[in-house]
């Protein structure tokens, strides 16, 4: 019987969220709740100039007028969020470290578990990492090398001091503080995030990457990312997330702004694997993200790729405003929901310039009692001559207790534009499963293989380092969904 008990214990361990651990580091926290004082506290903590504080307060005052404007149109069900019952600022106490040796070993341990290539692995992986632990960036690597090339890659709190002209010019220029309820909240309380500037004509030689981590209990995380690709430059940016397990729902309202000038290209990839809550739907992250790119220049290009496997609630619509003539926007998405997860995600492609092109490939996979919604807008303005859009959304249902929904909006005002939209819904066929299992695969391996095949088009667009992780994630997220 001892063996059985052991097996049961092992199984139980496996069933638990792989990255569900809490690192105990004393943190520097603002009191619970949200008020002008808290915002002044955050701003003071960051030693911000007055114009930043004013911007935050302006956003906060606007947010107060928006109390009943919290978006309710998404196909999401969750208890009302009490915004006064969260901490808006928490920072690991030790800051300003000269070298990695000074980093809290516990923290390094955490990263190791997550597999972030921060030490020796850095060289092998060739990834510069701006690791955000809770709200403050504690270690930034490869900075020197990038600096020599003129690339600015630093926490946004640092950029405010070092490059105020760039921050002033671009922060809030793509997602203004009045944009939506969650973006307004973010503009008021954002704690940190990454700032990237790629100078004219430079092809950034390495993938830039930030791992987000929600660690402190009850800390809503409000990241703000701003990436500017100047004329003729190229950058590939990776964002990945895992979070420790906890029972209380956590709010995350990030804002990401991308600006691509003439002939510039930005590739933004995300693997999101936050704690999705347990099988009964208890706990999990609430993820309300506003991501938007402005293709301002001629021939500019932005490509969003996302693999969304985590979070209890996902509310996320990475968008492209195609202002510049000949600009291109692409959106590749895999969203996997299992158990009680809910995802309402998609994109917006706003065609304003001539010869603008957009492509949307969305794969939604729903299992357990989950609901997965694709919601997307393609808008062709009257002046967007020869605009092209191609949209394909496919949904895969695993089991008869989940839901898959597609809500596309297509608005066209230009006769020379061509838009195409296709969507299908299907399930894993018994034949496919049987075929795989007959060849010695377990049912879960077979499901993972079939689903990976279903998502291939999207996973292929990920940078190598991410593609491997994403493929594994696809399998892990669907464990226990069949049979």
């Amino acid at each position: 019987m001892a063996v059985t008990r052991e097996t049961a214990a092992t199984v139980k361990e496996i069933e638990q969220y792989k990255y569900g651990f809490v690192t105990d580091i004393e943190s520097d926290k603002a009191p619970k709740g949200l008020s002008e004082d808290i915002i002044r506290f955050i701003s003071a903590k960051k030693n911000e100039p007055d114009w930043m504080l004013e911007g935050r307060l302006k956003a906060y005052r606007h947010w107060l007028t928006q109390a009943d404007e919290e978006p309710a149109w998404a196909k999401l069900h969750y208890p009302k969020i009490d915004y006064q019952d969260a901490y808006y600022y928490a920072a690991p106490k030790q800051a300003k470290l000269a070298s990695l040796d000074e980093v809290d070993p516990k923290l390094l341990e955490t990263y190791k578990k997550l597999g972030i290539p921060l030490l020796e692995q850095q060289m092998l992986a060739g990834v510069a990492v701006d690791a955000v632990f809770d709200s403050v960036s504690v270690a930034t690597t490869y900075k020197k090398k990038l600096e020599e090339m003129g690339v600015i890659f630093m926490p946004i709190s640092e950029a405010v001091h070092k490059h105020p002209e760039l921050v002033k010019k671009y922060l809030g220029s793509v997602v203004p503080y009045t944009d939506n309820f969650f973006a307004t909240l973010n503009a008021a309380v954002f704690t940190d995030g990454s700032f990237v500037y790629i100078p004219k004509g430079l092809r950034c030689p390495m993938e830039l990457s930030t791992y987000f981590r929600i660690n402190e209990k009850n800390t809503g995380q409000f990241e703000r990312t701003l990436i500017i690709a100047d004329e003729g430059s190229y950058v590939s940016y990776l964002e990945g997330c895992t979070a420790p397990q906890r029972d209380e729902n956590q709010l995350h309202a990030a804002v990401v702004e991308l600006v691509a000038l003439d002939d510039a290209e930005i590739k933004y990839s995300t693997v999101q694997n936050w704690y999705p809550g347990d099988a009964q739907g208890k706990g999990g992250i609430y993820n309300f993200v506003t991501k938007r790119a402005a293709c301002r220049g001629r021939n500019s290009k932005v490509m969003w790729t996302q693999v969304e496997t985590g979070s209890a609630i996902t509310w996320k619509y990475p968008s492209c405003i195609l202002q510049g003539d000949n600009s291109t926007g692409e959106f590749y998405s895999v969203a996997i929901t299992n158990n009680r997860q809910q995802a309402d995600t998609g994109t917006k492609m706003i065609h304003l310039g001539r010869n603008t092109k957009s492509k949307i490939i969305s794969k939604g996979i729903s299992a357990g009692h989950a609901d997965n919604t694709y919601r997307g807008l393609v808008r062709i303005g009257a002046k967007a001559d020869n605009a092209r859009n191609y949209t394909q959304c496919d949904s895969l249902l695993i089991g008869s207790t989940c839901g898959a929904h597609t809500v596309p909006y297509i608005e066209t005002k230009n006769p020379t534009a061509h838009t195409e939209h296709e969507a299908t819904t299907s399930k894993i066929s018994e034949d496919q499963l049987f075929y795989c299992m007959q060849r010695g695969m377990t049912q879960e391996e077979a499901v993972s293989l079939i689903v990976n095949g279903f998502c291939k088009e999207v996973l292929q667009t990920l940078p190598m380092e991410f593609a491997v992780e994403a493929q594994k994630l696809v399998g892990i997220s669907l464990e226990g969904s069949v049979g």
Binding site: C402, H405, I410, P415, T419, H421, A423
Partner: protein
Amino acid sequence: MKPAQRISGLMEHPFGADYARGTPAPADRALAAFREQARAVFEPQGLPGPRNESWRFTPLRTLAKVPFIPAAAADDVDVAAVPPQIAELPGAARIVLVNGILRADLSDTLDGVELSTTADRALLGHLASAASAPLAALNASFMSQTLSLRVSTRAAKTIHLISIAAAGSQPAAFHPRLLISVNKGASLTLVETHCGLPGQPTLANPVTEIDLAEGASLKRYVQVTEQPDSFHLAATGIALAARSRFEGFHMGLGGALVRQEVNAVMRGTGAALELNGAYALDGHSHHDFTTSIDHHVPGCASNQVFKGVVDGGSHGVYQGRIHVARDAQKTDARQLHKALFLGRGPQIDCKPELEIYADDVQCAHGAATGEIDANHLFYLAARGIDPATARMLLVEAFLADATGRITDENLRAAFTRDIQGWLSRRSLKAAA
């Protein structure tokens, strides 16, 4: 959650207390009570505004400003005054309504179909309830006449229902309700022509409730060719029992603002629904096709093909929703909308929506917009066909994907003729 509607955001509209006084309550007490209940729903919500998701593409601001009065039963209107393009349907039995009121003197006697002006209470309000749709609420609040059609055999003759809108010296509105029940195994082909006489603007607000019993079959072809400054807001609710068949076709060729809303519920296994439509718009015409198909039970099929061409400053809207309930396994649901631009200025909005809770289903939708392919024009030009004729041919062929799905041969030809008529009028206009 937000409060459902902000009262302060309510649009001013002409359908207030004065309007209600102008539409005397029916003698039937139960009917009068039905109207009162509907008004209790309509009054606080009013006309749907842009914040109502289902109405975001179709603003009613212009309509709300027209000082409509309840239309009088215009006994002096003669069908001879009806625009000549309303095709005679040979062999069809006619039912003529003027301002929503049956004109027995202009209608034929029907064979195998019971027609009555007494409301079928078993049906009234069941498939289009005031609570579920603003259009049904508006209709029920001021309902003029209910017309009940009951089919108990295979009706040999096609019924052609002609609804004529005729305003007097003031803009007029009317709210007819049509109740159709097709009994077990029975079948009917119904053509509806909604048109109006030149003059003051009119608003036709017909609501139709259709109940198909087991194995029943109904073909319903609707054409809306209202006057250029007139309005038409129609809603249809359909319930399909096991193995019943419904084939619908909706054509929009005229009117300032037209909405044709169809909500169908699959209630019995093996039911099949085919719902197609075509529109050809110019000027400032706005046509909205909104459909919602609820697959409540397993093993049903639905298919939709809507195609449209837009010119001038017109605006075409297609919103389709397919809902597949948890138990509705083996559902086959399809939806397609394609629109063609004929010039600069028009607008197309499309929202094909799928909401699926069952896994063993086949569901697909497609949507596309574009203009006439220059290669196609070149191909035809190379064969000696002048550009104007070539464009007409291509438009006709484009819409034929939808009209071609009309299974009744004679009616398919009649609807195709209507489209050809629209095209030739348009080219005449262009030539002038």
